[in-house]
């Protein structure tokens, strides 16, 4: 067993002393390790070990607390997804690929009416049909559920009322699909059709029969589900502005457009436990909802997450069809499979809210942003879903990355008789962000300054507090802006290109994990837990509930474990499909998985690492501080020849106790203010991004082609640059769809007219520009190895970048999304009518002549650049709160320094008259305050 252990050292004479002993640290080649596919231990990859611990990986943003456990094994390396071989061989099992023996097929009877009361359902003819094995209606499951505990308003099937076309009425399971479809025709339902509401503006008014009834908390008799008012800062600053922008936006609803339709398989095993297979982003909430609806304890349910064929937020609610499958399986005693067709996918929806957004913003004579005034009326469709949160996000996620003098937000979400809107990639932040960024562009135009310099001179620094009390830690916004400016050759192109060619900028800001879990429990349950087990074979089994929906969370977790334990990726086995074996995890939403789960995984791995190092200490006699873990071997820091193999150390550590077991958990630190809604938008870290887009606009047809995108995203630290780039490019694709072609079209009669992928136009390969992904690493102090999110934030900037580029190309501000050719053409026609020209090709292309403000802005940006660098590297640890730019002292409460500084979550009576569209919801009183009035 001795052959090959001690490899040839760096050369004779150099590493050996005259007395024959080795000179410490002189061995050029490390000795072989053991196990795995490579016979010899790999050399330490110094390129992937940070400078702070003696490696060569540069750390412009400073060192990180996890640096000491970096082994250079896999973090920062382009890593193919660990489950990709299953996917490329067709062996990945998605919802509809689960085929259990003896299965039967379930189908759902859907409402043909927008809004109707069910007077009766007669199922006798259905039950009489040969081949039908189970029938269920709303009466079988009267319990309500919903993803948010505060708004449980869904039933498995309609109880009393249907709320949109396609709402679930009843379901049936039969021996095959043809019989089940046949059975749907045999339900006899008696309806009382009610007056539907489609226009969200109408939803603000009192209705005869509101779509839901919230009892004493119901707002008069309106269809308002949630209203929000938030005001921070000194409103006197917005009087007499130097420059302002005012825009009214209309944004269409968009759908996630994942390629896998929903599917579910339910099976009650012989012991009476429910096994439910479903492609879910958030299996845990489904688990909870099933327990409520079926009235059985949670431990009698095993939720098995199949591979998920794209989620983007659209598979994160507990769904009624999941309940239906479970009910049918319970009744029939056989496994039931329900698969949606594409039309049903649009009926369950949960896509981005159709929105009416109004943004007013002002800047003072120093080009500081003195106020944002945002009003967002969002169309929630028939159910609440995540809407409570969306109502907040539409405002509060606009409070950064800029320093604001004041912030005013009114928002309302209304129920309408349409499929429910919900969470979609960039949840709630996307539409407002677009409106805000375009407003900044317009203000820059008025002040005759470069829009990038305007942004650079108004950024919040790292380690600061936003006006609404969010704690910003690492911040790579400035670097992102600088990189896209340079990469795109911005200064040569902006306002200098001919008519029809344009370039535009947009920025983004997004949460990296939501600070409050949706189901907050009194016992301070952690946000994420990871269990780890290492048995004598040396393989590491990691149990986590993190739902891999294609974003690569399984890979990220395997990577961090592999990094800490210095093991090849093939030795890490992540098990995340079953709720029986995985610890509770809140799921894949709010871009929380990498941040929270990887942090939990690191903690568990550190525990295993400690046990291994202690075992090696016992064998070698060197303290763990002097031991280095490298590829399947642990050795003395100053003499690599003195060491022990990973397996030996493991076996030593296992003496008397068997497999090593560890558990790691993550919970976010306490943060934020105390005002109502202060928790919305709180996150342990925030991501930043800046994109530049170039477009060609055909002025004669209104057709827009986006030709190139430079996309810089601050993800803290790219654990897997391949996946980060994939997320950036994929986000561009999805955002381009929303800004250029995607739209859920509701006709005059309120019908969804394009519930298929032909009329709902997702960009194909031909519409996709070349995207230059630029990764900015700001090294977040609390992120796993410095990482933050990269899944949702990268979507935000592409919309405003394109809209701003269209202005640069044709000089027309368009505020209706998507910018389909007819919208653009109408804009061009309108401009032509108001101008002296007849031919659109004669239109003037916008130009820019800098005002005297420009050099001042550049100077301020340069000053802030130095400030930010020091703060990012924590050389400067002085407190910084939003307002310092306006001359306030960050150490004193702002209320004490500024007369008129306020934090309000309800409007003053005198404000009521001047509130915007959504703000009108504040004119109504809650039922409990209206006693005797109605």
């Amino acid at each position: 067993m001795s052959g090959g252990y001690r490899q040839q050292p760096g050369g004779p004479g150099q590493t050996t002393r005259k007395d024959g002993k080795r000179v410490a640290g002189k061995q050029a080649f490390p000795p072989p390790g053991s196990g795995g596919s490579k016979p010899n231990m790999a050399t330490r990859d110094l390129d992937f070990i940070p400078e702070s611990v003696g490696g060569k990986e540069s750390q412009p943003a400073g060192s990180h607390i996890h640096d000491r456990v970096r082994t250079g094994t896999s973090v920062g390396k382009e890593t193919p997804l660990v489950d990709s071989n299953a996917k490329v061989t067709g062996q990945a099992w998605y919802g509809d690929d689960v085929r259990l023996p003896n299965e039967i097929i379930g189908k759902i009877l859907r409402s043909p009416h927008h809004y109707a009361r069910i007077k009766s359902i007669d199922t006798t003819r259905v039950e009489a049909l040969p081949g039908v094995l189970a029938v269920a209606t709303g009466a079988d499951a009267p319990q309500r559920f919903g993803v948010l505990p505060v708004t449980k308003d869904e039933h498995a099937m309609a109880v009393d009322k249907v709320r949109h076309v396609g709402d679930l009425v009843a379901c049936v399971a039969a021996i095959d699909e043809a019989t089940a479809l046949e059975a749907l025709n045999l339900f006899d339902v008696e309806w009382e059709v009610l007056e539907p509401v489609f226009d969200p503006k109408k939803g603000l008014e009192d209705a005869d029969e509101p779509i839901h009834w919230r009892g004493k908390y119901h707002l008069a008799k309106t269809n308002v589900q949630k209203r929000v008012f938030q005001e921070f800062g000194d409103r006197s600053l917005v009087e007499n502005p130097h420059a302002e922008s005012h825009g009214k936006w209309k944004m269409a609803g968009v759908h996630h457009g994942f390629t896998e339709p929903h599917a579910v398989v339910a099976h009650w095993d012989p012991n009476g436990r429910l096994q439910l297979y479903t492609p879910q982003q958030v299996p845990h909430y489904t688990h909870r909802a099933l327990s409520t609806v079926l009235d059985i304890p949670m431990h009698q349910i095993n939720v098995i997450r199949t591979f998920v064929g794209g989620g983007f937020g659209g598979k994160s609610d507990p769904f009624p069809h999941e309940m239906c499958a479970a009910i049918l399986a319970r009744k029939s005693g056989r496994p039931v499979r329900i698969t949606f067709d594409r039309e049903e996918v649009y009926w369950i929806n949960r896509g981005r809210h159709p929105s009416h957004i109004e943004v007013k913003m002002t800047a003072d004579e120093d080009a500081r942003i003195s106020g944002f005034d945002i009003d967002a009326l969002i169309d929630g469709g028939g159910f609440a879903s995540f809407g409570h949160v969306t109502s907040y996000y539409n405002g509060v996620l606009a409070t950064a990355p800029y320093e604001l003098g004041s912030f005013h937000y009114t928002g309302a979400r209304v129920w309408t008789n349409k499929p429910a809107s919900g969470a979609m990639r960039g949840h709630g932040a996307v539409n407002t962000r677009c409106a805000v960024e375009v407003g900044l562009d317009e203000m820059a135009e008025t002040m005759q300054v470069d829009p990038i310099d305007l942004r650079l001179a108004n950024l919040l620094p790292p380690h600061s507090r936003t006006i609404s009390g969010f704690r910003i830690t690492s911040n790579g916004m400035r670097e992102a802006l600088e990189k896209v400016r340079k990469g795109s050759n911005w200064d040569e192109k902006f306002r200098k290109m001919p008519l029809g060619k344009g370039i535009g900028i947009g920025c983004g800001f997004f949460i990296s994990g939501s600070g409050l879990p949706i189901h907050w429990d009194p016992n301070r349950f952690p946000h994420a837990t990871v269990h780890m087990q290492v048995d004598m074979d040396g393989g590491v089994t990691v149990h986590t509930g993190a739902a891999d929906i294609g974003q690569g969370s399984t890979t990220a977790i395997a990577q961090v474990v592999s990094e800490v334990l210095a093991l090849p990726l093939e030795m890490i086995h992540v098990r995340s499909h079953e709720s029986d074996t995985s610890p509770v995890d809140l799921g894949s939403y709010s871009s929380r998985v990498t941040f929270m789960n990887a942090n939990a995984a690191i903690r568990a791995a550190l525990e295993i690492r400690e046990q291994l190092l202690n075992a090696a200490w016992e064998i070698l006699g060197y303290h763990p501080n002097n031991l280095i873990m490298n590829d399947r071997r642990i050795y003395y820091k100053h003499d690599p020849a003195i060491g022990v193999s990973y397996l030996k150390a493991l076996h030593k550590a296992q003496e008397d106790k068997g497999a090593l077991i560890a558990s790691g958990a993550y919970r976010s630190p306490p943060m934020g203010g105390v005002h109502k809604g202060a928790a919305a938008g709180l996150a342990p870290a925030y991501s930043f991004s800046a994109y530049v887009a170039e477009v060609d606009v055909d002025v004669e047809t209104g057709m827009i082609q986006c030709t190139k995108v430079w996309a810089a995203h601050d993800c803290g630290k790219a654990l897997n640059p391949l996946a980060v780039k994939g997320q950036i490019i994929g986000s561009c694709h999805m955002g381009l769809g929303q800004v250029l072609s995607e739209k859920m079209v509701y006709g005059r009669t309120g019908h969804l007219q394009n519930a298929n992928l032909l009329d709902y136009k997702i960009p194909s390969v031909h519409e996709m520009p070349h995207v230059e992904p630029i990764i900015v690493e700001s090294c977040d102090p609390e992120g796993p190895f410095g990482a933050k999110e990269a899944g949702e934030g990268p979507l935000l900037p592409i919309l405003p970048a394109v809209v701003n580029a269209v202005y640069d190309a044709i000089g027309i501000r368009l505020r209706t999304l998507p910018l389909t050719p007819d919208v653009v053409f109408k804009g061009i026609e309108k401009t032509l009518k108001a101008s002296e020209f007849d031919d659109p090709t004669d239109l003037p292309s916008p130009t820019l002549e800098f005002s005297s403000m420009q050099p001042k802005l550049v100077a301020r940006a340069q000053e802030h650049r130095i400030r930010d660098k020091a703060r990012q590297r924590t050389e400067d640890t002085s407190p910084y709160v939003n307002g310092v730019l306006f001359g306030f002292d960050p150490t004193l409460p702002l209320e004490d320094q500024v007369e008129g500084w306020r934090t309000a979550t309800e409007p003053d009576p005198e404000q009521l008259a001047e509130l915007g569209l959504a703000g009108r919801a504040w004119l109504k009183k809650e039922q409990r305050e209206m006693e005797g009035e109605n």
């Binding site: 002993k21 390629t259 294609g550 995207v771």
Partner: protein, 212 residues
């Protein structure tokens, strides 16, 4: 009942007598060569190829995304030509040679296009991947020096919501290089790689002065 409800095919037929909407079709033996293996299954005469492949033949790698020929997830190769199996009656392709994603690999040896999709990030959620692999393989069979434009034309019938296509094009270019013989194909992951040091290296040298 007030107003007239929109006529959806799913609509319950209130008050009307039950009329069977789909007459029971005749069932016949359907035969074809799927992934090199002769297959004979009993299918209704109106069966769609996608249903036959998924439900009867068992090639679940063929994915159902839309049933309307809009997403390309169900693409299979029929006698070497990519075809949307959801728009194709089984009877139309009787007796042909059909290749699904399961048929791309040669035993444990993954096809170059498969390894490259993994390596270049061409597959994220993976649901559209089988369709892309078939479209790309059909292109590479004809042309191992495709331009990006030619690749775009070959995959324009396939929708991908995750990747934004860029890494898919890179994957196909990577596979083309292997087809041209410029780059070696990767060894199968299941190849034997015995552990050369099952117990680790022999007893490590103790540090000087350490008595044990």
């Amino acid at each position: 009942m007030r107003g007239s409800p929109p006529r959806l095919w799913r609509l319950s037929m209130v008050g009307s007598e039950h009329i069977k909407m789909i007459p029971t079709p005749v069932k016949n033996i359907w035969s074809a060569e799927v992934n090199g293996t002769p297959v004979e299954v009993l299918v209704p005469s109106n069966a769609v190829l996608l249903d036959v492949l998924r439900d009867k033949v068992g090639t679940l790698g063929v994915k159902r995304g839309c049933d309307l020929g809009t997403c390309g997830c169900c693409t299979v190769m029929v006698d070497g030509t990519p075809r949307l199996s959801c728009l194709c009656l089984a009877g139309q392709v009787e007796g042909t040679a059909i290749t699904t994603v399961e048929g791309l690999a040669d035993g444990a040896h993954l096809a170059p296009i498969q390894t490259c999709f993994a390596e270049y990030g061409g597959s994220q959620c993976g649901f559209c991947t089988p369709g892309f692999l078939i479209s790309a393989q059909a292109l590479l069979n004809e042309n191992d020096t495709p331009t990006d434009k030619e690749i775009a034309c070959a995959i324009d019938g396939n929708l991908c919501r995750c990747t934004g296509y860029q890494q898919i094009i890179e994957s196909i270019q990577g596979a083309a290089a292997i087809h041209r013989g410029e780059v070696d194909a990767a060894a199968p992951a299941s190849d034997a790689h015995p552990d050369p040091h099952p117990d680790g290296p022999d007893e490590p040298k103790m540090p000087p002065g350490h008595a044990r």
